[in-house]
Subunit: 451 residues, 2 copies
Amino acid sequence: MSKARQQKKPDHLNELLAALETGAIESVRAILVDLHPADIATLIEGTPPESRPLVWTQVDDARKGETLLELAEDVRADLLRLTDDAALVAAARTLDTDDIADLIPELSDEVIAEILAALDKQNRQRLDAVLSYPEDTAGGLMNVDAITVRENITLEVVLRYLRRRGALPESTDKLFVVDRHDALIGQLEIGRLLTTDPDRRVSQVMDREVIRFPALAPQQDVAKAFEDYDLISAPVVDEHNRLIGRITIDDVVDVLREEAEHSILAPAGLSEDEDIFAPPLRTSRRRSVWLAVNLVTAIIAAAVVGLFESTIEKVVALAVMMPIVAGMGGNAGTQTVTAVIRGLALGIVSESNARRLLTRELAVGALNGLVFALAVGLIAVLWHKNLMLGPVIAMAMVINLTFAALFGVLIPVAVRRLGIDPALASGVILTTVTDVVGFFSFLGLATIFLV
Amino acid sequence: MSKARQQKKPDHLNELLAALETGAIESVRAILVDLHPADIATLIEGTPPESRPLVWTQVDDARKGETLLELAEDVRADLLRLTDDAALVAAARTLDTDDIADLIPELSDEVIAEILAALDKQNRQRLDAVLSYPEDTAGGLMNVDAITVRENITLEVVLRYLRRRGALPESTDKLFVVDRHDALIGQLEIGRLLTTDPDRRVSQVMDREVIRFPALAPQQDVAKAFEDYDLISAPVVDEHNRLIGRITIDDVVDVLREEAEHSILAPAGLSEDEDIFAPPLRTSRRRSVWLAVNLVTAIIAAAVVGLFESTIEKVVALAVMMPIVAGMGGNAGTQTVTAVIRGLALGIVSESNARRLLTRELAVGALNGLVFALAVGLIAVLWHKNLMLGPVIAMAMVINLTFAALFGVLIPVAVRRLGIDPALASGVILTTVTDVVGFFSFLGLATIFLV
C-alpha cells in the first residue's frame, strides 16, 4: 500500500470541481498529488463523467492501479476504456496478486496476456491460485504472501530469516507453521516472537489452535469470524489442510462495507456498482426493472380496490381513508421485516425460535393495531361524521397490522429458505400483502356494515 | 481477548434451544464451554428472555465481561440486573480499560466504586482518561495501552525492552515514538523493527508521517480513515499533540458494524440496541412513535384525497387507480433518496455537485415517468374503458415521478444540513411528498378533464 502523506479534507471535492470549472489543471494536479487512492477514487466518482478523463490524466501512475480498485464498477469500466494497454500493464505491476485477480475479469485478453508475461513464475502461479476460486470465497479473497516457518527451528532462526527476507507483507501479525507437506499445524504470533526467549523452538511457542478457512468458505462467514474473533490475518487451507494463502483484515473490512451497502441499496432495487453520475438513460433503464415489479404489485392492490367500486361510489369517504389503512400496515410490517432480516443476518433468528418470534411479533402487531385502530377510528368518525366508519376502519387496522406482523416474519424466513436474498425481495412482497389485506379488509367490512 | 477454541456452528442455537426445552443443563454448559464471547452473546440474544438467566449462569466467569460487551444494550441491561455486584466487579477485571469505560454508564455507583478500588493507580488514571471523552469520539474509542519508545535509542534496545516487557497488547502493529514531553513525533512499525539492522537508531527507521486522530475526532471519521488507509492501529493525541492512547482495528470494525446497522434500521424507525425478544408491550411502545409520525403523514395525504370527494363520487375508477400513482412516486423517490444518502455518506455528493446530481435525477425521473405513464395510461384505458383516464393518469405519473426525483435529492441534502440523520428522516418526508403530489395531480387533473 502506498503511504498517505495527506488526509483528504471534506472540501477537496468542492475545490476539485471549482478547479475543473475554471480549467485550472495545475490546481487539479495539486489537489490530487499525495492523496490516497481511496480518496482519489471518491473524488473521481464525485466528478461529472465528462471531466473524469482530465482528472484521470492527472493521477500519478503509481496510484492508478489502486485507484481503479477503489472505484465503483461502472466508473472503473469507463476509465479502463480510457487507459491504454501499456498504462494498464504498468498499473497492474503496482498491485498485489489478489488485487490483480479482482481486475482480471474486466480486462481485455491482450492486457491479461501482457500482465501475465510481466509476472515471474512464482507470482504467475499465485495469481492462478487466486483465480481458481470464486471471488466471494475465502480463496478469492486471499493473498498468497503468507510467511511460513517450520516447527523444529528456534525463534532466533526465525528472526534471522525475517531480517534476511526484508519488509514483511502488510498486516502480518502472525507467521504460519507448516510441516513438510505444507499442512498447517500452527501459528506463531509476531508479538510472541518478539517477547519470547529466542532460544526456544517454534513448536514450544506456537499456537496449535488456529482459526482457518477452507478455500471455498463464503466470504460472509470469513467476515463474521474476523469481526467476532478480532482477527488481523487468518490462514486459508485446501481440502488437505495445506496452507494456500492468508486473508487480511483490510480486505475483510471491504467485504463488510460491501455487505452493508448491499443491505441498504438492495431494498430500493439499487446496485453498489452504479455510477451516481451515469447517463440518465442507463440509470433509468436499470431502475425501471424494480419499478416494473412494483407496478405489478400496485396493480394487484388496485384490482382489490376495483372489487369494491360500488361500495366506494356510495361512501366516498372510504376512498379518502383507505390509503391510511394500507399505509399503516406497510409501515408496521416494514418494521417487523427489518428486525427479522437483521436477526437472520446476525444468527439470532433460527428455525427453532422463529415460531416464538412470530408469536411475539403478532402480539406487537395486535397491540399497535389496537392503539392505532382507536386513533384512526376516532379521527374517521370526527372527520366524516359517519359513526359506523369508526368501528369498520378500526377493525381493518387491527386485521392489517396483525397480518403485517405475520407476513413480516414469514416472508424473510421463507425467501431466505428459497435461497433468495431477503433484503432484496422482502419489502416488495410485504407491501403487496399489506396493500391487499388493507384494502380488502377495510372495503370488505365497509360493504358489510356501511352499505 | 480470550482465545476461541471452537468456532460457532450454525446449529448451536438450535441445539441450545432444544437443550433448554428438555431442561438438560449439562448440555447447555457443554454447548457454551469454549465458545467465543461474541458467539455466546448471539446465543443469548436468540434465547427467549425467561431462559436467559439459566443460560447466563452456565457462562464461564472469565467470559462474562466480554459477553456483556457483545450484547445488544437492552439484553445487557437485563443481564446486569441479574448479576450480583461481586460477579460484575470480577467480570470488569477481565476487561481492557476502554471496554470498562463502555460499561460504566450502565453500572450502579457501588459497582463503579468497587471496580475503581480494584484498579491500580495507573489503570485508574487510564480509565479516567477514556471516560473524559464522549463515547463516539476517538478519545472514547481509544485504548490506553500504547507502547512508546524514544527516538535516540537503537532497535536492539527496543527489542530488549519488548522482551523484558512481555506479551504485547492486542493489535500492536506499531510502536509510537514520543519526545520527553510525550509529544508524538513518529511511529515504528513492528515489521520494520523485525527486519532492520538492530544497530540502527529509532530516529533512522521511524516513520515521521503518522496518521493521528485528535481526541475529539468523530468516530465516523476514524472509521473512514481506518478503512481507506488500511490501518491496524493509530495514535490518538490531545490538543498539544501529546500521545494519549491508540485506536485498534477491532474497535473500528465494531463502529463500522454499528453504522451499517443504523443505516439499515433507522429508515424503519428501529434501534440497534433492541432485544428481538423484548416484551411485546415495550416493543409496541417504541415502534408506535415512528408509526404515529407516519400516521400524521398518511392523514395529510388523505386530506388531499378529501379535497376531491365529489370528483371521486363521479368517476370511481379514480379511487381504484390513485394508489398506483402515489405508490410509483414513492418507489421512484425512494431509489433517488437511497442513492443520494449513500453518496453523501461516501463523500461523493457535496454542495458543488448536488445541482448537477439534481439535473441528472430529474432526467431519470422524467424518463421513467414517461415510460410508466405510457404503461399505466394504457392499462387505465383498457381496464376502465375511459379514454380520457389514460392521458390524465399519464400526466400525473410524469408529474409525480419528476417531483419524486426533485425531492429525492433535496430532502436528504436539506435534512443533513439541519444536522438530522438523513437515513432516519428522509423516507418519511419523501413519501409524504409523493403521496400528496400524486393524489393532488391525479385527482386535480381528473377534476379538470374528466368531470
